[in-house]
Amino acid sequence: MSRKKDLRQTIQKSSVPLMFVLICAVCIPISGLSPSYLANEVVTRMGRNAFLILSLLIPIMAGMGLNFGMTLGAMAGEIALILVCDWQIVGIPGMVLAMILSVPVSVLLGIFCGKILNMAKGREMITSYIISYFINGIYQLVVLYLMGSVIPIKHTSIKLPRGYGIRNTVSLLSMRQKLDNLIPLKIAGIKIPVATFLVVALLCLIIVWFRRTKLGQDMRAVGQDMEVARDAGIKVERTRIISIVISTVLAGIGMIIYLQNMGNIATYSSHSQIGMFCIAALLVGGASVDKASIGNVFLGIILFHTMFIVAPKAGAVITGDSMIGEYFRVFVSYAVITVALIMYETNKRRNKNRAGKQLETEQNGEGGAS
């Protein structure tokens, strides 16, 4: 009986990935895209997004839910890249410098975010979501008004003609895919960004290692029961802030990797959607609000991005309008997050009701005996 129950539970748990396998299975043949093109795309996107999505894992471990505030890190990464670009530091050294530069910005933003979230315990997600908008305002203030007027920006290719503020797009031609192509490798016509994968693999190792540290253990404890952790002498607030800071720093570095692949920065919009797409991908991989693994990240990228590539084409074939597919994939991204959030909340409530059921059966059992 228990095995049957287990099976049902696993199916229920992996319902979202299964649904995506189904969507992909239907859409791939319809879209008519060649397997090699598809494989190439998925591999590219894997390299591009993996680091960013991995940055979400640690706050989930600390019980702070999906970190919509990862956008903060993305903004820090963008600011660093804009500066490095203006200083004309190119190639891999430019990326390394941008990463180093993004860290202090990310740390500051992370501490801010962590402190606010400590004031809003129990509604971390909506708060981190609003924080991302709030900081976006500050980011615009810095990039649109302070850069060029207070922070020196030299190059007219970056600066707006009016003398201050950054253009809508900043070209990263000098860094474009420098990391991806550092170690060139092609297998069966599929270009593999080996160096990027190595960096991602390193981060995976670090995360695995981190879980085994004292801090990682503390985070798991805080994530499951703040009060018990506090009673045991763990500094709950500090631990939560650290988890957000780590996530923000990783997101900043991830954004730099992401943008080197893209080859340009959309100054005012690159970061705004990144949080949503990363979270959706993670959830598609079978993660939930309180549990996520490295496996979820990779499965999520494969499924979510396959859908992302295929949907517009499939939509165009079916309805004759390419916009339908575009809207469809946006809808799916949002719907996935919605469903995951609903499942999380209903599970929480179901667990609460379980105790009553137990008592009833107990009583009935007793009644039968007497």
């Binding site: 540290t213 004292k214 798991r220 018990v228 952790a229």
Partner: protein, 532 residues
């Protein structure tokens, strides 16, 4: 240092008051190494306050500290937090589990005291980057479990464990602390099966042999007699007996626990009570179960007689609060409840209220009041919603408009009748004192003009003057309006002074129903009769 002569723990003249309300008076207690002492007393006798002082709980400091002194091994101790107490070798196992559900027993036993290994990163950043040394942790956990003498699976996740094993995990956690000299166990056997409880007692004996002193708090007197060296009995904030366990027995302990200077007013209206015993049954409860966390009701059958005041007493956690809460539909419940011959469906507060029940909850701030609304709203709300009182009808009843004037009138009436101290009927309920808030709760129930009134812990957390007024109001309501009252309280004397009959709940079941004039000792014995 002659350790033989200095006792491990000395508590001298411990006094404590909460805002002028004396809860502990001149407690003197000493404990030698390896000694097991059983601490018994009714709820509210001061046991847990005493233990909180010993354990350096934050509540004590926040409420102005305590008087007297505590010596550990002859040295004066002043604990600023539980961590200080732990450092001096005191361990405590609380009634509520303090465990991380998703962790294994090992991880919980060594929570925040894990074995660690250094690495390069931890040298740079902080010790928190040390990796955990799992094999060593496993070994330390096993040692602690062995010390306890009860086998539990060290690798099992807490949420998969039976309750008893959770309790043992907590005890093992305390035992794993090397400095542990004194262990406080607060009702550890409450959640254990008989077999497990026996194992625990065995392990307490083992600990004592190792030189660890144990303070064992429980309501199960048998256990005390079988394991303790001495028994300390507390009543009304005083330590009234401290005798070797061999020299006493259950009956005597029970007497000490409840036997106080009996109040003359107890058993008021005895003749009336007799008369009512033969009256008609207004409410009949049959095989009720209620899932109220911490107050589980298991199998309660009870008849309430028209016009009486029925008291329900018992120790905390035994289920007396679950009865009214379950009937009124606030917690999941099952069984049958019949009122005036009609069956009342459970889990539906509305049906109860429609049948002219009213309920004054023990949780004033959580359930009883709209803290952020005016007194008018608090008093008139249920009557308005259930009986359409204080409403003006327009368009042939299509629009039911709030009648502010009628609401104000009724509020003023109750403010006068119950002497509620407030600045006016518009004042927010939050701003009132506890006693006055309780009166508002009563007024709310009175405004419903019920035929059956449940009152739960009406005097909890309010001062003496207000207590008398509240009880007086209840009696008056019962006598003048002929309303049947079911009153739940943990204060036996209060029940004896107010009620006609008293039902004692123990272990989630009714132990027995006796007239209020029965001596306290008998009630006391009933209270501990089926404790689980």
């Amino acid at each position: 240092m002659d350790e033989k002569n200095t006792p491990l723990l000395e508590m001298k003249n411990i006094k404590k008051d909460f805002f002028g309300n004396q809860v502990l008076t001149d407690i003197n207690l000493t404990l030698k190494e390896g000694e097991v002492i059983g601490l018994v007393g009714e709820n509210g006798a001061g046991k847990s306050t005493l233990m909180k002082i010993l354990f350096g709980a934050d509540v004590i400091r926040e409420t102005g500290g305590y008087a007297g002194e505590i010596r550990i091994n002859g040295e004066k101790a002043d604990f600023r937090s539980p961590f200080d107490a732990i450092a001096s070798g005191i361990g405590m196992v609380h009634q509520e589990f303090s465990l991380i559900p998703g962790f294994t027993a090992t991880e919980n036993i060594l929570l925040n005291r894990e074995s660690k290994k250094k690495n390069i990163i931890s040298e740079i950043f902080s010790e928190r980057m040390d990796t955990l040394d799992r094999p060593e942790m496993e070994q330390r956990a096993m040692e602690a479990i062995e010390k306890m003498g009860v086998k539990i699976e060290s690798k099992m996740v807490i949420s998969d464990m039976p309750v008893g094993h959770k309790q043992f995990t907590e005890i093992a956690r305390e035992l794993s602390k090397d400095q542990l000299k004194l262990l406080i166990l607060d009702e550890p056997t409450a959640v254990l099966t008989e077999k497990e409880a026996e194992a625990l007692l065995e392990s307490i004996r083992g600990m004592a042999k190792r030189g660890i002193a144990v303070i064992f708090i429980t309501h199960r007197l048998k256990e005390i007699l079988s394991v303790c060296d001495r028994v300390a009995v507390m009543r009304d904030g005083c330590l009234i007996q401290n005798v070797p366990a061999k020299e006493t027995d259950e009956v005597q302990i029970t007497k000490w626990m409840v036997g106080r200077n009996v109040d003359v007013s107890a058993g008021a209206g005895k003749e009336e009570a007799k008369e009512k015993e033969e009256g008609e049954v207004i409410l009949s409860i049959d095989r009720l179960w209620v899932d109220m966390p911490g107050e589980t009701v298991r199998d309660v059958s009870l008849d309430v007689i028209k016009g009486e005041i029925l008291g329900i007493g018992g120790l905390a956690g035994q289920g007396k609060l679950g009865i009214p809460n379950g009937i009124m539909g606030l917690y999941q419940a099952g069984g049958t409840v019949t009122f005036e011959g009609k069956e009342i469906p459970l889990n539906d507060p509305r049906k109860c209220l429609d049948s002219s029940f009213a309920f004054v909850s023990e949780d004033r701030r959580g359930v009883g009041l709209l803290l952020d609304e005016s007194l008018e709203w608090n008093i008139a709300f249920p009557a308005m919603q259930i009986q359409n009182k204080f409403l003006k009808n327009y368009l042939g009843g299509l629009i039911k408009w709030r009648d502010e004037k009628a609401i104000q009138e009724v509020t003023q009436k109750y403010i006068g009748e119950l002497a509620i101290k407030c600045t006016g009927s518009q004042q927010k309920a939050r701003e009132l004192s506890g006693g006055n808030q309780q009166k508002v709760c009563l007024a709310k129930a009175f405004a419903l003009e019920p035929r059956l009134l449940f009152v739960s812990e009406p005097t909890r957390g309010i001062d003496v003057g207000a207590k008398a007024l509240v009880l007086q109001a209840l009696k008056q309501f019962n006598r003048e309006k002929g309303v049947t009252v079911v009153m739940v309280s943990s204060e036996l004397e209060e029940l004896r002074a107010t009620c006609d009959r008293i039902a004692i709940v123990s272990g989630g079941r009714i132990a027995q129903i006796l007239p209020a004039s029965t001596p306290s000792e008998e009630f006391g014995a009933l209270m501990v009769s089926q404790v689980i």
